[in-house]
């Protein structure tokens, strides 16, 4: 069993190793090793397109994770106290949102928003004062954040709800018996209990958005996210620059993980 596990880890890490090794390739082509060099790291870090794409990806991931965890948590809390048709509708929507493949979300958002914009833009232009160019809604970072938020919000609702379901009801009841306002109950009882769920939801949303290619491919308008940049580079003539980017992203996530782990451990120690 142990041996088997070692094999699986090898399976998981050999490709990662290959990526890392080739990122130090001196040659131009990602498939021929031609000596050691760190030049591709310098190139990647100095490439304005890469930096631009990275910035776009981080912005989109941050805002969609923020909106998703905020509105998702709000919805999850509200759904606790709602029954009847509204609840059924919401459950259905969440079910559909997580079940629809990303590619369909991408396509549907594209044609849905384009159709919507075609209706709205003339209306805006009509009411806009003459002589001033009316703003035009178009696909771009906004639509991308909106699409990612839609999907990840559904995930947050599920996660937070699972947390709420595991919560001891008597706690909130006790709180209101003690004449705490609903707000105070939420802040002092519910929120601390669901916070790990909210954080997990935020991280999951961030990761999903940061790594998403297929929705962004359709919805991003003229914006280039990191996966879109990588995809168009892979399409023709990959240089080890791509490997360098991948290795850097991996290293950054590892550092974040280790830091988070250390912080968590400290927090736990303080508690006990």
């Amino acid at each position: 069993m142990r041996l088997y596990s070692i094999f699986v880890y090898l399976f998981l890490y050999i490709p990662i190793g290959v990526i890392a090794i080739f990122s130090f390739n001196a040659g131009r082509h990602a498939s021929q090793l031609q000596g050691f060099s760190t030049q591709w790291y310098g190139k990647a870090l100095n490439n304005p397109f890469v930096m631009d794409a990275l910035q776009t990806s981080l912005t989109v991931a941050f805002f969609s994770a923020l909106f998703a965890s905020l509105f998702g948590t709000m919805a999850a809390v509200a759904l606790q106290g709602i029954k009847g048709p509204l609840r059924t509708v919401f459950d259905g929507l969440i079910y559909i949102a997580v079940m629809i493949p990303g590619i369909v979300i991408g396509i549907a958002t594209l044609i849905g928003l384009v159709t919507l914009f075609d209706l709205i833009n003339p209306a805006i232009a009509a009411v806009w004062p003459e002589g001033v160019t009316a703003p035009k809604l178009s696909m771009g970072m906004g639509s991308l954040i909106a699409a990612h938020t839609m999907f990840t919000m559904a995930l947050v609702v599920i996660i937070v709800r699972a947390r709420l379901a595991g919560m001891d009801r008597s706690l909130t009841e006790a709180s209101s018996d003690l004449y705490a306002t609903p707000m105070a109950t939420f802040r002092q009882v519910t929120l601390p209990l669901i916070l790990p769920g909210v954080l997990a939801g935020f991280l999951l949303s961030f990761t999903f958005s940061f790594d998403d290619f297929i929705i962004a491919f359709f919805v991003a308008g003229s914006e280039t996210t990191l996966p879109i940049y990588v995809f168009s580079s892979i399409r023709r003539g990959v240089t080890p620059e791509i490997n360098a980017i991948g290795t850097l992203v991996l290293a950054a996530s590892l550092i974040m993980l280790v830091t988070a782990q250390i912080l968590l451990r400290r927090g736990e120690k303080r508690k006990t």
Binding site: S31, F49, S138, G140, G221, S222, S233, I234, R236, G237
Partner: protein, 386 residues
Amino acid sequence: MQRDDKPITKKQFMEELYRYKKGSVSRRHFLGVTGLGMATAVMGAAVPGLRPRPAFAAGDIGDRVVLATWPNYHDPANFEAFTEATGAYVQVNVFGSNEEMLAKLQAGATGWDVFVPTNYTITTYVGEDLIEPLDTSLIPNYDPKAYDSRFSDAGSVDGKLYAVPKDWGTTGFVVNTKHTNGVKVDSWKQFFDMTKNEFSGRTMVHDYQLTTIGNALKYFGYSFNSVDEKELADAEKLLIECKPHLFAISSDYQPSIRNGDAWMSMAWTGDGKQLNNDMPEIAYVLGKEGGEIWSDYYAVPKGAPHRAAGYALINFLLDPQVNAKEVLAHGYPSADAHTNALLPEELLNDPILYPAQELLNALEFGAAVTLTDPNRAELMARFKSA
């Protein structure tokens, strides 16, 4: 090779001066080629009042411009120079096919300021009202007389100029001559026959209906642009017969050819040139039955958000000095005489960039109908999913 850091000979100087007087080259070009620009720049640096001004005062055209283009198709240093000169930063979006560009434009608001359509698509863009007639006063570097009309005609529709030429090229195939046992490969017939036999599992075709279907049509001697049902049916039969023998259906063929997994692939001029440079055993072949010759253009989509910057970018890239650097980087021939005057002799005589006349004669420009013909699109889908 004429580079701006090399001193110019007397004869070349006189030639350039003559062209400048004639008005066929711009002042900037003249100063650049002759080295006078360099001299002015050095002096300018020494005497602050003489420091050359950017062609556009920074801020005039905004801080960015969005360009939709093909992979490996520009010299990044030129974009840096543009940013330096104008303050506008160039954001590049890379695409895989003309269909994809059209699809994005049809879906509305792409945010592009400049894009690079191929000759046969321009009438469709005009018909769909997706691109604007160019304001030539904003592109003084465009000198229509300097262009080979074969490669600039498609830019005008109904007498109006919608697009200016970038460069041109051919669609042939690359073959690794290590595996051909000395047999001369020079036709699409051989391309497909070898695929089914000795090159089984080693051939790639483009993931692009125009060239893959077009070249299969050439196997039978039909027109590259045919939309005739019977002829398309023949091409489909051939493609589906070949499918199990293909290494891949992909327009990303350089890596597989380089690492030896694939031995033969449909290819464009520049890729052929780049591969041949690095691996002399890779030959670039034009089928003797014919095939595609094409020309790419710069165009401005309707409603471009940074229109002024878009025009400035086109004008900048058409500057022969800049364009020559572009050609050296991407390996596709330019149709601009001014640019060619700056290129090294051996590049201008390169048989990959400039194939023999009898080979060129057999080639066809893509036709607009192929872009919109639903049968060709469906044929491609059937071939890919077969």
